[in-house]
Symmetry: C2
């Protein structure tokens, strides 16, 4: 692999797929000694412009975030039934870690460069203030990678 | 779950099971823009005193560590064929994330308290300057938890 494509070595998020986010968020809140965070739902397709494996998707997910380090978050993800990397992994492999995330600059270039190194693009979408992309790192990295770009 | 059993909310390590640590370490070094780290092998059973599911085990693993944040490490783990949580998960689920780790104080009390909350003890061992324990968090946390206690 080409050296330093990401431009960072800092992981900023660990994403975990769950079937019941209310229950999982309460357990993690207790374990970490914090209040249960607000559970948010990702935007609908008009706003998110979500695409999965090359096609638009109406997939949404419920999310809960915990601070688990100076610049690290744990993200719980409960996907709906629509096509997404979340739904696919939950159906195939069950609950568990889905991705690790990096904050990057230059989303398009990073996706292309990593694609050329054998990390196919799985899913993209927009959120308030930025955008995300999931790349299939299962072959070489053994985990899905999320790129996050904030404006 | 009882509140704040761990005494910390900081995850300090993400552990990933791999079949070929030389190859995986090179890929991660390239991705993260750093030199390939030295690959270490865990101590043998005399030193490690490793126990898996209540019985001594001769299991060892090759390890490679990367700094991926101000107080966060990525750990690649290539287990040998002996009985361990590493070997069991690699054989059952394949390569991928194995655990997230917390630095704690009071190993015995933490193991007991988490056990009472439905996180069974999987494996323990000693290393130079400290000790570890893996707890089965698959039911509620959806991931294996490692406790690390340094002297």
């Amino acid at each position: 692999m080409k050296k330093n494509i990401l431009g960072t070595s800092a992981v900023t998020q660990i994403g975990i797929l769950v079937r019941d986010i209310e229950k999982a968020a309460q357990v993690y809140a207790d374990l970490l000694g914090v209040d249960k965070p607000e559970i948010r739902t990702t935007d609908g397709p008009e706003k998110s412009q979500a695409r999965f494996k090359g096609k638009p998707t109406a997939a949404r997910a419920k999310l809960a975030f915990f601070d688990i380090g100076p610049s690290l978050q744990l993200e719980l993800i409960q996907p709906d039934g629509e096509r997404s990397t979340w739904r696919e992994d939950l159906s195939r492999a069950g609950e568990g870690v889905h991705h690790i995330a990096f904050q990057i600059k230059g989303m398009k270039e990073k996706i292309e460069a990593l694609g050329a190194e054998g990390l196919p693009l799985l899913q993209t979408g927009e959120y308030a203030g930025g955008r995300y992309a999931y790349l299939d790192g299962s072959k070489d990295l053994k985990v899905t990678i999320e790129l996050l770009e904030n404006d």
